[in-house]
Symmetry: C2
Subunit: 384 residues, 2 copies
């Protein structure tokens, strides 16, 4: 009794596209070397600055998130240079893989998945390895739902090393505060298909003056991902290679929506959706993967427990028109993940919670229907 192909996309990206963004992407195509395209490129870069918390103009790439992860590596790290990757999940691991591919000497600080790094341990690693040239963090680790506290980790790096701080903010930028300047972050990369509410295909990198000094000396061969080309072209209101113009139209419309709501309100909305989700799942005694301090406002992961199957939950939800994510790598079949970011209002959280209850009940989990919904509603009610 559910409409075919009508889905509630509650995965941690891509996220639902607002109608105004969809409409904007249907605008008549323009030449990407036209004056209109230049205005568009300069404007969206300018308007992205507050999301990164920087005065440096974010660079615009046609590519997915991984393209700018690789760009952040290839523009800054040369073979055999020592780097530290703080790995809290799949995407920290991806940074390490890229660095290894490029011949860097990679130190890993592997944190238990679902947890954030211990500041003291980080400090010790930096003290033990004084030649570390760059430290790589993931702000929101999409694979587990932790939000690494960049504001607290960054001062440690700056105090105990001269390393660049490079942050993957793909699944958090636009949903949670990011203060590149205040936090002394050197390079921040992000993508389009998460909290920024547009389809995948655009990626962004904001680069500090400190990072530019390193980049200027970098000798790696690079072409499509060469930061300098993007910077020099952006000054002239263009991109070195063909930009994904329809996505830039979409970005412009999405920025309009986010600005209209106001960034503080956007962040608050995500915080409330997180609290509703966590409170609801806790009311069902489901084991959350993260604690309250470490939890990301964009995605919530739940461990499978005795008596029910996480893949059965996903498959039941699919039948009810709701898509959630499973686990990646060693968590495959062991967790499910709910995305609550982007074009999603607090009340939109209720259907996914209801469907989870119904699925668990079907799997003979002892629970009282409505428990999760009530808990979520109580959180929301305190904020309305």
């Amino acid at each position: 009794m559910f409409i075919a192909n009508k889905i509630n996309l509650r995965i941690p990206g891509p996220t639902p596209i607002p109608p105004a963004v969809q409409a904007a992407m249907n605008k008549p195509m323009i030449g990407h070397r036209s004056k209109e395209a230049s205005t568009l490129i300069s404007e969206v870069s300018e308007r992205l600055k507050p999301f990164f918390g920087t005065n440096e103009s974010p660079l615009l790439f046609s590519g997915s998130g991984t393209s700018v992860l690789e760009a952040a590596v290839v523009n800054t790290v040369q073979p055999e240079e020592e780097v530290l990757v703080v790995v809290t999940g799949v995407f920290g691991d991806r940074f390490a893989k890229i660095l290894t591919e490029y011949g860097a000497t990679v130190r890993r600080y592997d944190v238990d998945w679902g947890k954030t790094p211990d500041p003291d341990a980080l400090k010790k690693i930096l003290q033990q390895h004084p030649n570390i040239k760059a430290v790589f963090f993931t702000q929101c680790e999409t694979s587990t739902g932790v939000l690494n506290p960049i504001d607290k980790l960054s001062p440690i790096v700056k105090e105990f090393s001269n390393a660049l701080i490079i942050v993957d903010a793909v699944s958090s930028l636009g949903a949670v505060p990011f203060e590149m300047n205040d936090w002394n972050v050197d390079i921040t990369v992000a993508g389009s298909q998460k909290a920024l509410m547009i389809p995948a295909g655009l990626a962004f990198a904001a680069v500090s003056q400190n990072a530019w000094n390193v980049i200027e000396q970098n000798k790696n061969p690079k072409f499509y991902l060469d930061f300098k080309r993007y910077r020099d072209n952006l000054l002239k209101g263009t991109t070195p290679f063909t930009p994904a113009v329809s996505l830039l139209f979409g970005l412009q419309a999405a920025l309009e929506l986010l600005e209209e709501e106001g960034l503080a309100q956007v962040f608050n909305r995500h915080e409330i959706m997180k609290q509703m989700t966590r409170s609801a799942l806790r009311a069902l005694s489901l084991p959350l993967m993260t604690n309250d301090t470490d939890a990301s406002p964009t995605v919530t992961s739940v461990y499978q427990a005795d008596g029910w199957d996480s893949e059965a939950v996903r498959s039941d939800l699919k039948k009810m028109g709701i898509v959630i994510a499973g686990g990646q790598q060693h968590l495959k079949g062991k967790i499910f993940r709910i995305g609550h970011m982007g074009y999603c209002d607090p009340l939109d959280i209720l259907p996914v919670l209801s469907a989870i209850e119904i699925s668990l009940k079907k799997q003979n989990v002892s629970l009282s229907l409505g428990t999760a919904l009530q808990a979520a509603e109580e959180v929301l009610s305190n904020h309305v």
Copy 2:
């Protein structure tokens, strides 16, 4: 903390537009006298037949629902002819107003709003007025949320009169069964912006052979609403006047979706949404306007009660991104109405119920948050 301009449209029409319908309406325009347009016109009329339960090809009008209400009058009833209008709310009253405008001798059977006609009373009226030429019904009375049982009323009309049976199915066609042939209905009219999931602007009329005999004799001046012109043109795959082509593209896509789901499943979905809504509101002890037998699967009305204000509920919901309807005419400020038809899944009912609970609680109504949600979920859970 709600996204501006992101709304859950839970009024009894217009209803949300499915993305596939929106996309179809954006197809490149075609000439309305082209071969492609002829194919489109013939095809959608053919595919509408099962929704009306007839083998007669439904006529296609560019206009809103009222245009075909008027057409049903002007093509069949001449000045001073006696007619009966069964008035169960605003739209029955509208039939009476149109008939009065055209000089008919109008007998009204006014039923208390929120109730359906008494078969015995209907029988008596017909016996007392043997010259009644047509009886007008409203299948779903949008203003109150009753579903008049045409299958039960129609045989009475046929037994005790020779009158035509004319039914307004604007806010029910496509959400509940309609069996024009089996029920001996002579003219059925409907619109596009309700359960058919497209914007307003198209209207439909299906006409029985019996009705055509009357229409052929009709001498009223008429032009744009002349059924014969539409019938004669439809035989040639066209319309007498410019058709709203983009809406026909939309209708084609909507029919595709409804056929894919299957009509029985579509009706079942609406029945479950009705039961969820009613069960939830009842759990809050809110006074429903209709009883279970009379309630429409497309819209549910609730009387305002002591201690809370229905307009405050609507205004609170608006702030939470949900639009519901108020009362019309003498019910203004005394009821609210929730639409649950068209592109709406059972789980989509939860946000509006949650927002109502939160609003009532804010208005100091004594209730336990989550009560309505639990009741709705229990209904759904029995069907999944």
